[in-house]
Each structure stands twice: as C-alpha cells, then as structure tokens.
Symmetry: C2
Subunit: 319 residues, 2 copies
Amino acid sequence: MSFDHPVIAIVGAGAVGGYYGGRLAQHGHDVHFLLRGDYEAVRRNGLTVQSCDGDFRIPAGAVRAYDEPRRMPTADLVIVALKSTNNDQLDPLVRPLLKDDTAVLTLQNGLGNEDRLAELFGAGRVLGGMAFVCINRVGPGVIRHTDHGIIRIGEFADPSRRDRVDRIAVMFNASRVRCEVLDDLRFGRWQKLLWNIPFNGLGAALDLTTDRLVGSDEGLALVRQLMEEVRAAARADGVELPAELVDININNTLSMGPYKSSMQVDRQHGRAMEVEAILGEPLRRARSGGASTPILAALYRAAVVVDAGLQARGSARHL
Amino acid sequence: MSFDHPVIAIVGAGAVGGYYGGRLAQHGHDVHFLLRGDYEAVRRNGLTVQSCDGDFRIPAGAVRAYDEPRRMPTADLVIVALKSTNNDQLDPLVRPLLKDDTAVLTLQNGLGNEDRLAELFGAGRVLGGMAFVCINRVGPGVIRHTDHGIIRIGEFADPSRRDRVDRIAVMFNASRVRCEVLDDLRFGRWQKLLWNIPFNGLGAALDLTTDRLVGSDEGLALVRQLMEEVRAAARADGVELPAELVDININNTLSMGPYKSSMQVDRQHGRAMEVEAILGEPLRRARSGGASTPILAALYRAAVVVDAGLQARGSARHL
C-alpha cells in the first residue's frame, strides 16, 4: 500500500462512505466513489455534505464517481461502507479494485465483516473500523452529519502490525476525521455490540426508540439481561468485556434522549435490517464457544421474522 | 341465583359484552347494560349488532342502558366483559349489583380474573368463561361479529357443582350462542393461553400478524419455544397440557391467514394492552411453581415496555 499519493476507493457510498470519503477528497486525497442508486445524482450535482463539523461540497467536475468497479483504478486502500446485508456482493465489487498490496478497511456494522473479507481476499489485507457518527443520507448525493464522527480502526489479522493502521489514522486525522487506533479490534467490535445488540436489536424488534427501552424498570432489566448475555458471548469468543461497561452504556443511553437506531430506521422504512452482523454472528460465536444466551437467541429469531417481512429488500438504495 | 326470570347485568358492554348480552336480550331475557363511552349512543340509538349469525338490533326504547351501577337493579347473573386492564374498577362496578346468591361470570381474557372476583366477592359466586369469537366495536353502540362465537364456561371454586353452570349454558344455547361447559376451567384457561401467549403476546411486542410469526422457520421455532414454556408454566400451576396441542395450535394458525390479535390491535390504536392477564399472571404462576420460562419472562418485560408508551390509557373507551 502506497501512502505517498494513495488511491482510495469507497465501496458503498451511502451516508458513511460518502461522508468519510468526502472528507478525504475534501483534503486533497485521490478518492474514487463506487455508487449505485445515487450515481447519476452525484455525477450531475457532485457530493454535498451538511456537517456539524463544517459543510462542504465536492463539485460535479471534481468528484470521481463510478457505477461499475471495473472502470475504477486499482486502489491502495479500499474502504468498505456497504450495508452488511449486501455482503454477498463483496467479491464482485471489491476484487476488481485490488492489487498485491491493497489494504481493505471495512467500516461496516457488527461482527463477521472482516472475516468475510479475509476469506475472500486474504487476512493480511484486512483492517476493521467502527464509525461512531450520527449521519443520514437526506437526498440523492446529499448527506447530513449531525453529531460525533470518530472512527476507531485496527488491524484484523495481526494487531501488532502498527505501521499501516497508524498511517491510515494520520490520514483521517489530517482530514477533519478523528481517528483512533485500536490495539484489539475484536474487543472494540464486542464493546460496540454491547450497545448495538440491545438498542439496535431490541429497538428494531419491538419498534421502540432507546429512551423507551431504558425508561422503565422492566425495560432496564431486559437491557441488562441482554448485555450480560453479550458479555457471555464475547467471553466465549475470547473477549472479556468489563462488567462496568453495562452501566456506562446504560447511563450514556439515558442521557441521549429518544434515539432511533439504524435497525429501527431500516424497519420503519421497509429496508433490510443488519440482522446477521448485529445479532446472528454474535449468537453463532456464543454457541460455538458454549455460552448460554437464550434471550439473544430469541431476539435473533424475532429480528429474522421482522426482517423477513420488510418490503424494499436488496442493495439498490444502500450501495 | 334465580333462573325463572333472571336479571342479567353486563359489566363492560364493549364488543364482547354487547354481543353476548345483546343475544340474551334479543331472546327475551332481562338484560341490563353498564356502559361508559357508548352510554349516550346506546340510549339514543339502541344497540346494533351486525353478525355472521344474523343481524339484530335492540331499539333505544327497549335497551336497558346505565352509566352508573347504583342505578341498576341487583342481578341474578353478572357477566363481566370489562377489559382486564380495568380490573381495578371491579369492586365499584360489580358490588352494587350483588345480592346473596348472585353469580358472577367473567368472560375476560387471560389468567387471574376469577381469582380477583373471588377475592372481592367470594369464590362461591364465581364462574369463568372464554369467548372464541371475532368481534369488533365498529362505532358507538355498533358491534360487528364476523366469525365463530362459541363460549366455554366453568365453575371456578367447585368444578363438580354443575347445576348453575349447566343452566347458564342452556340459556346461552337457547339464545343463538353456542355454549359448552368445561369440567376444568383452569385447563381451559391454560389451553387458550397456549395460543394467546405467542400470538397475542409476541404479535403485540413485535407488531406482527400471526401469519408472519408462523411464516418462517425462525418464527415457528420461537413460537414453539414459547409454547413449550407455556406448557411448563401450566404444569407448575397444576395443569398438564398435552404436547400435541402445540402442533394443533400451529396448524390452526397456519390456516387462519393474516390475523391481528387483540393485543396487537390495542398497540396499534394506542390503547392499554392486557399484559398482566395474558403474560404477567402466567409468568408469576410459572415462577411460584418453579418452572423455568426465560423467553416468557423476556416477552413479559418487552410487552410492559411497549405498553408503557401507549397513549390513550384508561378505561373510558373500554368499559
């Protein structure tokens, strides 16, 4: 991976890909966006970002947008921001972008995305990251960023290897994106799941915002029970989440006010929910590690049933 | 309880009370309706029933409607068709209607209604029944009955005592209401809960119709798991539900097509759901009998949280 003038490909330029790729492009990097639904709009009008950290625009003449990976140059860094429900398209979308030393960073939600990329393209290429950001696509080629924005990234196969991930972090930090390097990506993933499983999972299954889930004794008891099961699942996967993270997450959520998780938003818009990445894969790891997680198992089943009825499935709007 | 010319009081003349009380009045019985929300409409326009078993009307001049139990005559038979969420009003609504030998028959959903009546008015008075009926209030004083209609009733305290319950059954059967006598009311209650807990409970918590719950392997697995927990809860309460009832209920539900349970309808209309009668009391009996029912416990908590956010609480529309 060359870092003098790296070629960067963004696969899945929805809100997350558009925002982080847009920041890199805004700061002079050579960024190529692979789009589907918004391709024509971005070609015509460029990419517009309304951001709490400063609005910006990549004009139509300057944006490098594509609707077909074979027309793109091979990249030094591929950033995967595809919705994880479209992971069956990773091979055709990412493979044409690869050369020998291309690094692949997934900013997708949940568990199992790095594993899938490693399986397809070799573990040595893979980095993972989590975006802590409130962001929405508000129209074709228009993204609204309302809060937060930090990303935490780490190497997947060899956490001791720091040069590559450090250089990517420097690049983001120089592009108005706060970026921290994780010593232990798996710990980071499970730490985020401790919030995502109750609040995305339960919030979507019951169609309730976060304030409702933490607004009563019964809701808190259910959230705590699920969080303890997530800790047991993480332990079965080799990650020890400290007990105090439960209270920290609950207190943060209490202070957030009504918040609609991405999975609840997907349910309400009739779009595929990220059930496998956020619930299914954690459950499978709990099971193969011998953890007992009955509520997580029931929640997974419930979410599969809810998801099975959603209308506008597929990738068109999410790539 | 006199049965030559019994005075019958209907407490809670919503759809169920209005329909069954209306059938008795239509067939010449002396029926007195205690209403709240629909009192003025019924006084003015009478009670209208559009029924798959034959439409009928009790005209304004003939209907005996009240909005205050103290103005009603004492009754030989009180039929309680109040929504169980309003059980805190049983004492003021029912007590004024009682004389020494008044029988009280509850047609309410779920578990615990007979116990509450027994506690308040003495177990010897109490009978319980289940209405298997598709029925809706479609306007003030207007009820639409679309399917089924059988009621199954039994003595609460002394199942061997048959004279009273047999005479009530004869009265219903002579009034175009099919009525069967249960030898074991508790068995009947648990048998109905085997359906109600997954389909009312889960259907309301997830906001899904019955076809969605039985329409996938994951949904069926979740429904089966809950039904096995209901069997364990029933066993802890002294009732053995045969294993084959699980498949029978699932197959019946598969043949029903999309069906919205009463609890899901309540959720969608922002009305209080019968969480305690359908989920809470069964769970408490499981616990006090030492049964392990983790999914039922989680479902109860989830339903409490959903219910806590519903808007139009209270009794006005349901009495």
